[in-house]
């Protein structure tokens, strides 16, 4: 274990993990102030699907004109400052968003001892490029579905129907272009391109989303609100069971493939097995520390994790939506995604894509009669990943003990239990706090969505939506952009670790993904989503 003396609070001001908690909980807390009638989060700029000019007879409903391509979410949802936020307009809301998140993230960069000037310049570039891509990705050609066109009284026209997923793909592509064709720029931007930080923050915001889902549904019907609260708790339990089983199959399977087929040394095989089977970078780093592998192993494996995560991100949402399991089993698809896609960023992003694809397909297949709530499929993908993340610390601890006491047999060496805490992914704490607080509001002062609690739930909604919708998606977009910027395919090719590339490829596509799909099916098959289009019927659409 590390010889650096550490305390339980070590890293609270200096690690990405903790800063994701601080950033996430800071805006979550600001959102809660709407319960007191104070709205401090409605400024966040959010895109609409847009066209340059409205066709004759069309109405601004699901699709608007270019001058309304962005709006402050508070202008729509705030109960106390709607006029103020509406007056910001598209440019004003983007600038306010920039100023507030610049202050927040630069503060984080300062405490994490990054080069603040370089971070500030890089952040500014990435922020505005992200908003530009977000804007382009919401053009009706990319984002509008046939149902959107119909609701806005548009004439029939060809669109890609990708929903918000188009923006994620474009952000990743823009980042990859910078990372692979403008390398000096990418190197400069790398100080601010922090996909792990951005996604961990987004996952804390996702906690708000999970807690808010029943509140949102209650606005449609009390019955649907309860159905969603139950569904998220079901996902919590099923995700835990699936993850434990997957863990215990994945790791020894990949370790055996690495050792017996590819003849890798034990430590390298252990790090690789953790990375491919558990949770990418964090697991590779934790296992590398636990078994005392050379740091380069963790770094090489981490690079592979990023590349394969991007490949999975591009392939799996489409495969799960259109080939198997499709819209018949969206929760199976989400849970399998969480177990198969490594890195929190790529998984949550892939879950988000899957969510967009599945809802768009169901919307289109049912001709708008079945509308699934946004975000619940993402939640199913993230839930298994969250459990996996929580077990990283425990797994690293077990491996450390096995290595110390069994494999390497170092006499007299002790592994402190505090190692579990040090390896525990702290951002998970933020996720659970945000989730349980909003769930507490729903079942407590919100009276489970009944009429007497509706005023409290409306006030909670005004603070939750800007965080769970605007800020969460912004940080997903930043993650995609950053992931692309730091991915240098040529550098990986030069590193001559083709053997590792093949281990990863075979283990991932011929072992991890099939096994993940089977386990997800065993624990999630038949879970249904509420139909938001039909208030009276809670569990249609599945």
């Amino acid at each position: 274990m590390s010889k650096i003396q550490r305390f339980w609070y070590s890293g609270m001001l200096s690690t990405e993990d903790w800063w994701a908690v601080w950033l996430g909980l800071a805006f979550f807390s600001l959102g809660l102030l709407t319960l007191l009638g104070i709205d401090l989060v409605g400024w966040i700029a959010y895109p609409s699907k847009w066209v340059f000019n409205m066709p004759e007879g069309a109405i601004s409903k699901k699709i608007v004109t270019i001058d309304k391509a962005f709006y402050a979410l508070g202008g729509k949802y705030s109960l106390t400052a709607r006029d103020t936020y509406q007056s910001l307009g598209p440019i004003g809301s983007i600038l306010v968003t920039y100023i507030i998140f610049t202050i927040a993230t630069v503060t984080g960069a300062y405490f994490q001892k990054w080069d603040v000037k370089r971070y500030f310049i890089g952040w500014t570039f990435i922020f505005f490029l992200t908003y530009l891509v977000w804007f382009i990705g919401h053009h009706a050609f990319f984002a509008a579905s046939a149902v959107d066109l119909k609701r806005s009284h548009f004439p029939a026209m060809f669109t890609l129907s990708l929903g918000g997923g188009a923006s994620f793909i474009l952000a990743l592509m823009a980042g990859l272009i910078i990372g692979n064709f403008f390398k000096p720029l990418a190197r400069y931007l790398s100080e601010a391109a922090k996909p792990e930080w951005f996604i961990k923050t987004a996952i804390v915001f996702l906690g708000v989303k999970v807690g808010y889902l029943p509140i949102k549904a209650a606005a449609t019907s009390e019955k649907i609100g309860h159905a969603l609260a139950d569904l998220t708790l079901d996902l919590f339990i099923a995700g835990a069971a699936a993850t434990i089983v997957a863990y215990l199959i994945f790791w020894p399977g990949v370790y055996t493939i690495s050792r017996l087929i590819f003849k890798l040394p034990r430590k390298t095989a252990a790090v690789l097995a953790s990375a491919i089977s558990i949770c990418g970078v964090s697991a590779a780093v934790a296992t590398g520390g636990a078994v005392r592998a050379r740091p380069v192993v963790s770094i090489m494996v981490s690079s592979l994790v990023v590349v394969y995560a991007v490949i999975e991100l591009v392939i799996l949402p489409g495969v799960f939506t259109h080939i198997w399991p499709g819209i018949k089993d969206p929760m199976v698809a989400g849970a399998a995604m969480g177990m198969a896609v490594k890195t929190d960023g790529a998984d949550a992003a892939a879950g988000e894509l899957l969510d967009e694809f599945m809802r768009a397909k169901m919307d289109e297949t049912s001709n708008g009669t079945v509308i699934w709530p946004e975000g619940i499929i993402t939640v199913s993908a993230v839930m298994t990943k969250i459990w996996i993340d929580m077990f990283i610390g425990l797994w690293a601890f077990l491996l450390a003990m096995i290595w110390v006491y069994k494999i390497e047999r170092q006499e007299g060496e002790k592994v402190p239990f505090s190692e579990v805490w040090f390896r525990f992914p702290k951002f998970v704490l933020g996720y659970f706090i945000a989730w349980f607080v909003y769930l507490g509001i729903f079942f407590g002062p919100g009276h489970g969505g009944s009429a007497e609690g509706m005023s409290v739930l409306k006030a909670a909604e005004a603070g939750a939506v800007p965080v769970e919708k605007g800020m969460r998606k912004l940080f997903f977009m930043l993650t995609f952009m950053s992931l692309g910027i730091i991915t240098d395919f040529k550098k990986l090719a030069e590193a001559q670790f083709s053997k590792m590339i093949w281990v990863y490829f075979i283990a991932l596509f011929f072992f991890i993904i099939p096994v993940a799909s089977i386990i997800a099916y065993l624990f999630h098959h038949g879970m249904t989503l509420p139909n938001m289009a039909t208030p009276g019927s809670a569990l249609l659409g599945g």
Partner: protein, 61 residues
């Protein structure tokens, strides 16, 4: 971010990629590794059976 920080806390970074080989010199497969792998698979089987029984959304319910 330094390499030490990477090892301690982890962050995606493709810089400082050392190409020196850590892929050679594989040790012989030892009995303890067999125990580790087989034990893990057995534990997975037990966890699967318990999980399928107690989780309300599993295919057994």
């Amino acid at each position: 971010m330094t390499q030490e920080n990477n090892t301690d806390f982890g962050s995606l970074n493709t810089e400082d990629l050392d190409t020196s080989s850590v892929l050679e010199g594989a040790e012989e497969w030892s009995p303890i590794e067999t125990k580790l792998v087989v034990g893990s698979f057995i534990a997975a089987g037990i966890a699967l059976i318990i999980g399928l029984i107690i989780v309300p959304t599993s295919i057994l319910h």
